[in-house]
Amino acid sequence: MEYFIQQLVNGLTLGSIYGMIAIGYTMVYGIIGMINFAHGDIFMLGGFAALIVFLLLTTFMAGVPVVLALLLMMIVGMLTAALWNWTIERVAYRPLRGSFRLAPLITAIGMSIVLSNFIQVTQGPRNKPIPPLVSSVYDLFGITVSLKQIIIVVITAILLSVFWYIVNRTPLGRAQRATEQDSKMAALLGVDVDRTISVTFIMGAALAAVAGTLYLMYYGVVVFTDGFAPGVKAFTAAVLGGIGSLPGAVLGGLLIGLIESLWSAYFTIDYKDVATFSILAIVLIFKPSGILGRPEVEKV
């Protein structure tokens, strides 16, 4: 039983990270109906930005408190990733808006290749390990919970609340929801659609960058190919939860995290991704719109 709960804790941690990335996918999909393939690489980019900030801090300002360091890493990571995602949207997606469905998908895949290779060229192809930032471990009724895991879950919870507030309670969020439902009508009613879409990309990138920072802190290593696997799993999470639905993305992320850690604990670790993808396929066969997604109404 303790072993099971231990795995739940691990799965929850991993799931929080997936959930945060998944939100970026689901929001972009909801608003402009495209799979932003470069999003996983934005996550990796955020991790790298955090890594470089961490090295800057240790080189030039040794002895900075860990909390401040983490905060700085996150903020700089968010800014950098947001700027990148904003630029990518401007350069690669906006000119193709209103073009046929596959065109932005191809530029997104192209951008994903560009981002990971850009990091490989500028930062080198090797693994980038850092010394552990936080190492405290607590023992609660026989279950080991590390401070890292607590930080990840708490930060995820805080950011998701903020995010939920923005989307549901502010004029900006209203504009986003309006654009999602009907961008032409929203534009007629005075919503600046282009700006709303840009803001959506910025918000998604910021969340992904935080996820990247937390990922770096949790595993202590980042490499230029890191965008792909978490990116695909986060996208799987978004689809599993029902693409376009924000609570769905979080739920999907948590589910994927749980499936992954439980499968690795009770079966072979080799096939954990196979398990994840198979469950995705099975869910979609019985509920093609995902767990929380609205069923797609086809207009004739």
């Binding site: 930005a49 792909f228 695909v232 689809v239 196979v274 979609l284």
Partner: protein
């Protein structure tokens, strides 16, 4: 007169001012984008710790290039383009005469391809031709064939498949495993590999029949990953990441391409060279690719091909007209997968070695990119896209002279995929409908007119 001159002058200064503003703005953006990643480099020191290496000079170059580029763009390139566009709009429409070359493009291209190996051999000698036939000829033709195969699924039936490389893998491993365990020959296994891949296409097709659009995309992507992971982890059979090596070569009617007395070179009285085998492989893949094209063209004139295209344009209309969408989708998947399987077994026989490394998602993405960049459905466009994208990146391996410009540590190969990705974005933004943006309709009334891509829902092939 003076008045007019002053307005143009003030417009000029206004333009320059705007260009300057935009230049500064893009400089700032570039600075923000690159300050961490170009200005600083993380490297390992002797004690294996990460340290930062500062490269501010490089960062300054990036920023300056961006600023100057943006300035020239706004001040000179954009007005010039606008002028040209206006001139074009003002000029009367002249019906374009079809030249002999454009009318017979595919025939000329096929003849050129057939003549390619002898010409290269004549120009560069037997050994010198190796690289050109292998790296350029065979490599590009493999992608042409894969893209034509995927075109059946994506371009004709409109089903977005992000896991096409799975069928390629099934074909490659079918040949590799069956030939090394049972010693069967290439010519027996080629159809077997195609059939197995087609079976997998149907197996994948069944669960995803109900899915549409992007859900389908993600499930096919997942399927591609599952196949790769199984290949990695099922080590007893597939030897995992080590891959299967020592795969038997293909023979020409029992004639082997080796150094023995009964080998091709000895029989023909030629000096031994591996180039003959490569030339043989070149013709083999050319034949396979042309078979794919032929089948595609013929199928499009059959009820099933028409059904695919109808399915792509409107599934509901299709169903109400009595087309069985289940079989239509499954046949599209199976046919596309079969050609993927053929290409896969060719890949295995060409490399003599297969490992899961060759079947990553990136390959699927590259194939899909070629299909879309070529203009979905247009076989010629896809072939052109494959030549540009694959040939272009292969050429980067040859650019040793750049070392003189950028210093001896410069390796152009490193930038291969970076440039490939950029090219994907640039071509797509420049020509969203692909290289060939119009196509000939399959069904027409009296007269065959080219249909602009913008009038069809998706792709246009």
């Amino acid at each position: 007169m003076a008045n007019v001159a002053s307005t143009t002058a003030s417009a000029g200064t206004e333009l320059t001012a705007r260009a300057l503003r935009e230049a500064v703005f893009s400089g700032l953006i570039t600075l923000g984008l690159f300050v961490l990643f170009v200005g600083l480099e993380t490297t390992q020191n002797i004690r294996n710790e990460l340290v930062l290496n500062q490269r501010w000079g490089l960062l300054v170059i990036f920023v300056v290039v961006a600023m100057v580029g943006r300035f020239l763009m706004v001040a000179y390139a954009q007005p010039w383009l606008a002028q040209r566009k206006a001139a074009k709009a003002a000029a009367p429409d002249v019906a374009k005469e079809e030249t002999f070359f454009s009318r017979n493009f595919s025939k000329i291209a096929i003849i050129a391809l057939v003549l390619y190996p002898p010409v290269i051999v004549a120009l560069l000698g037997v050994q010198g031709s190796l690289k050109w036939v292998d790296n350029f000829g065979i490599q590009i033709l493999i992608y042409v064939m894969l893209a034509w195969g995927l075109n059946i699924v994506v371009g004709l039936a409109g089903l977005l498949d992000l896991g096409y490389v799975a069928f390629y893998a099934v074909g490659a491993y079918s040949y590799a495993l069956l030939s090394s365990y049972f010693g069967l020959s290439f010519w027996v296994l080629l159809p077997v590999a195609g059939l197995l891949a087609a079976c997998w296409g149907v197996i994948l097709g069944f669960p995803v029949l109900r899915l549409r659009g992007d859900y389908l995309a993600i499930v096919t992507l997942a399927f591609g990953e599952i196949i790769r992971l199984v290949l990695i982890n099922w080590t007893e059979v597939t030897k995992g990441t080590f891959g299967v090596s020592g795969i038997a070569k293909a023979t020409l009617f029992g004639l082997k391409f080796d150094a023995t007395k009964t080998g091709f070179a000895a029989m023909m009285g030629l000096p031994m060279s591996s180039a003959y085998y490569k030339i043989f492989l070149f013709y083999l893949i050319l034949a396979l690719a042309l078979l794919t094209a032929f089948v595609t063209i013929r199928l499009r004139r059959m009820p099933i091909g028409r059904a695919w295209e109808a399915l792509r344009e409107d599934e509901i209309a299709c169903r109400s007209l009595g087309i069985n969408t289940t079989t239509t989708k499954l046949t599209a998947f199976a046919t596309g997968a079969m050609f993927g399987g053929f290409a896969g077994s060719f890949f295995a026989v060409r490399q003599g070695f297969v490992s899961p490394e060759s079947f990553v998602f990136l390959e699927s993405a590259v194939i899909l990119a070629i299909v879309v960049l070529g203009g979905m459905g247009s076989l010629t466009g896809i072939a052109i896209a494959a030549v540009v994208m694959i040939g272009g990146t292969e050429i980067l391996r040859e650019l040793a002279f750049l070392k003189v410009v950028f210093g001896p540590n410069f390796t152009p190969e490193l930038y291969r995929m970076l440039i490939f990705g950029l090219a994907m974005v640039v071509v797509m933004v420049w020509k969203p409908r692909g290289f060939v943006g119009s196509r000939e309709p399959t069904a027409f009334l009296r007269e065959r007119r080219a249909v602009s891509g913008s009038f069809t829902k998706e792709g246009h092939g």
